[in-house]
Amino acid sequence: MRRDYDVAVVGGGLVGAALAWGLARDGQRVVVLDEGDMASRASRANFALVWVQSKGLGMAQYMGWTVRSSDAWRQLAQDLRAQTGLDVCFERPGGFHLALGEAELAARAQRLKRLHNQPGAADTSVEVLDRAAVERMLPGIGPEVAGGSFCPLDGHVNSLRTLHAFHKGLHLLGADYRPGHTVHDVVPAQAGFRLMTSRGEVGAEKIVLAAGNANMRLAPLVGLKSPMQPNRGQILVTERAAPFLHYPLVTIRQTDEGTIMIGDSREETTDETMLDLSIAAVEADRARRMFPALGKLNVVRTWSGIRVMTQDGFPIYDQSERYPGAFVVGCHSGVTLAANHALVLAPMIARGRLNADLVGAFSARRFDVAKVA
């Protein structure tokens, strides 16, 4: 078989591109096999938060992993800028989750309590603030805002520029990026793998499946599994405005360009070609109730995107036992975890071994345990 590459990464979104970039920096000969221009691409539809608070209810290790990536993001942003000249505008001013009304605030406080009562929970310094405390930091909140939670580790980034930077970086590192190469089949071979794509065959010693929800289909081909449960989210975005919102919220943030993104809907559907304008109306309404001044802004675009979501919402990182050298990497938070993927996970894959202390909890074997229990 042809073994042109050390590693073939399947998927050129934020997860695949971050891993490929990390692998290429590690000296690996990398090929990235990606879909075409119209692919369902969460990396082009996400909310761009680097987010810590509220992550990890049901798996304390995920909290620690998230905090670690959030801490590493500044380094990643510096490295990308030094290499590509692109400023991905990472900022970590802390972030809010606002509650409209006392009932929402109580529910929020309860959820955070459950999260932090878990054994092994990481310290995120999240605190629940009353209205007066919120208003000191976020002037302009509407009368219905009862309070909210604030976590100083939360931040955001320009995720589209991050995708651009990874791709530019891959190019500069001499990695081979092949768009329009949808992978149909993966065949384990003597020493490595053969990948059958819509534009021919590619051989590599190792493979990394980073194909988002398509990991569900691809993982079993190499003795892995990746149970997914995708859902749809919708986002609206306004025209550019002068700086007005100095902290990101889980549902509203102002980008470095000045546009204001509003989002965080969730529906059990996977058709991203259409969207539900009533959902956009509810999102707009809540945004306006949080910040009445937003009402005057023009909404210039809306979009829907399919979230990459594992069945329990936590990352899946595994190496195949039957076919060593085959890895699967899938998670919802491709932006938040990009620093870990590029700086921590990629070197592990390059060495051919996932460090169980760091990422053992994220093996898909946990789904077997759940079934037995």
């Binding site: 791709h167 707009a284 802004l297």
Partner: protein, 470 residues
């Protein structure tokens, strides 16, 4: 205003020739008809302000313009509900429109939808095309029609296509002065157009077109075979530079009017999910239509220049035919009240005669469609041709990845002024056909609406459940 529960028989978007023709037929047959247009008064771009123009001296704008008055009157008398200043910003496969007027957005259901959203001028991305003082010829023509305004100071016209000559003639009749008309029609186009001469010769365009050229050429310096056109100036237009047979030239100018044809305005149709295809003769996207004018979505038809450029008379005939199809679908018993299909089809055939020659003759040259280097492609986000080519170089196969990398097409115009350029530049860089490159994925709102307007729209239980979580 009908409530959503009580839908219209027919909703028509756009009150130009196609929309007016369609409304005249459907409302005339007794169908409840809603005709929405973004402009305050009906007429579209071609019959812009035909009911309100201050230019009462008919010879200035010409007989073809004033013919629109009768069509507007017919539609107004038909019983159609005509709403001006109404922006349709969404349409979906269930034929639900979202439209904004008088500061409020509402959903409107219709049993049939006819899109008559017409055309817009093809992007003309030359160096300096964003400078104040550079406008489209159509824009200046609108100012002439609506307000009786003409350029003051040194005016240069540049480009190719019938509208450029018509506008030049209108300006001259109005007493305006034109420094020069820079004709960018490539010599090769004349050869390519030759086979179509017989059909053209018997069309209405032939005599008219030649007469216009003579009228203009008598009074204005016409420079043929112009290439390397640039607008120059700091913070505003100061001069126009170009190459011609006689060599490089530079003209001082206060206003530059650019035009290289018109292309379908596809944003609403594409955002609705209607299938489109690349039309190589007109170098643009057109909707995929069946013989009756139906799109890929049941109950939605497109008529007029939005289906491919055919001009005002063809648009009107297409609009009437689409209206007739709507009557046949909604209330076939009323077909006796509408004109004979055969007659309309003949009118359409007459109007389309000669179009093939115009397409060949006025096909814009490659240099004025495919900019290079620092020339701006996306005006909203200030993305240059060079940046776009660099994005292709690192793997952006199509407009959507390029948009993600660079924000081209992400501004308020939503790609209307850069989309064709982006597709064609990527096509050239990759060496594949535009059809393979594709286009931006468009989404509602196709025109901006305020957040407050959006927020005030209906909140379904399902929508609330999808957004409000702990």
């Amino acid at each position: 205003m009908s409530a959503g529960a009580n839908p219209y028989d027919v909703a028509i978007v756009g009150a130009g020739p196609a929309g007016l023709g369609a409304a005249a037929i459907t409302a005339g047959a007794g169908l409840t008809t809603l005709l929405l247009d973004e402009n305050p008064t009906p007429g579209g771009q071609i019959y812009r302000a035909v009911t309100t123009t201050p230019l009462k001296e008919r010879s200035i704008l010409g007989g073809d313009y004033w013919a629109g008055a009768a069509l507007v009157a017919e539609a107004q008398a038909s019983g159609a509900e005509i709403v001006g200043g109404a922006t349709v910003w969404s349409l979906d496969a269930s034929r639900e429109l979202a439209a904004s007027w008088a500061g409020t957005s509402r959903f409107i259901k219709a049993r049939r939808v006819i899109l008559a959203t017409g055309a817009l001028e093809r992007p003309f991305p030359i160096p300096g095309w964003t400078l104040p003082g550079v406008m489209t010829a159509g824009a200046l023509q609108t100012l002439l029609k609506s307000s009786g305004l003409v350029p003051d100071g040194r005016l240069v016209l540049a480009g190719t296509g019938p509208l450029l000559w018509l506008f030049a003639a209108q300006l001259l009749r109005a007493g305006a002065r034109i420094e020069a008309l820079l004709d960018t029609t490539p010599w090769a186009n004349y050869l390519r157009a030759l086979p179509h001469v017989p059909a053209f010769a018997i069309s209405r365009y032939a005599a008219q077109g030649l007469a216009l050229r003579r009228e203009v050429a008598r009074q204005v310096e016409v420079v043929s075979g112009v290439t390397r056109l640039r607008a120059e100036g700091q913070g505003g237009l100061a001069s126009v530079a170009f190459a011609a047979r006689s060599g490089e030239r530079r003209l001082m100018a206060d206003v530059l009017a650019l035009h290289q044809g018109v292309v379908p305005n596809v944003n609403l149709a594409m955002a609705a999910g209607i299938a489109h295809r690349w039309q190589p003769a007109q170098l643009c996207w057109v909707p995929v239509l069946d013989a009756a004018g139906n799109t890929s979505i049941d109950g939605i038809a497109i008529a007029g220049d939005g289906t491919g450029i055919g001009g005002a008379l063809a648009a009107e005939a297409q609009g009437r035919l689409a209206g007739l199809a709507a009557v046949a679908a909604v209330a076939p018993e009323r077909l006796a009240r509408v004109p004979d299909r055969q007659l309309l089809a003949q009118a359409l055939a007459r109007a389309e005669r000669g179009r093939a020659l115009l397409d060949q003759l006025f096909a814009p040259p490659r240099w004025s469609r495919l900019p290079e280097g620092d020339t701006i492609v996306c005006r909203c986000e200030e993305v240059t041709a060079g940046q776009l080519l660099e994005a292709v170089g690192i793997g952006a196969m199509g407009p959507n990845q390029a948009k993600a990398f660079l924000r081209c097409g992400m501004g308020p115009c939503q790609g209307r002024l850069c989309g064709l350029t982006v597709t064609e530049l990527i096509s050239k860089a990759r060496g594949v056909a535009p059809a393979e490159v594709g286009y931006f994925r468009l989404r509602p709102p196709v025109k901006p609406i305020t957040l407050a307007e959006l927020a005030a729209m209906a909140h379904t239980q399902r929508a609330v459940a999808a957004v409000v979580r702990e």
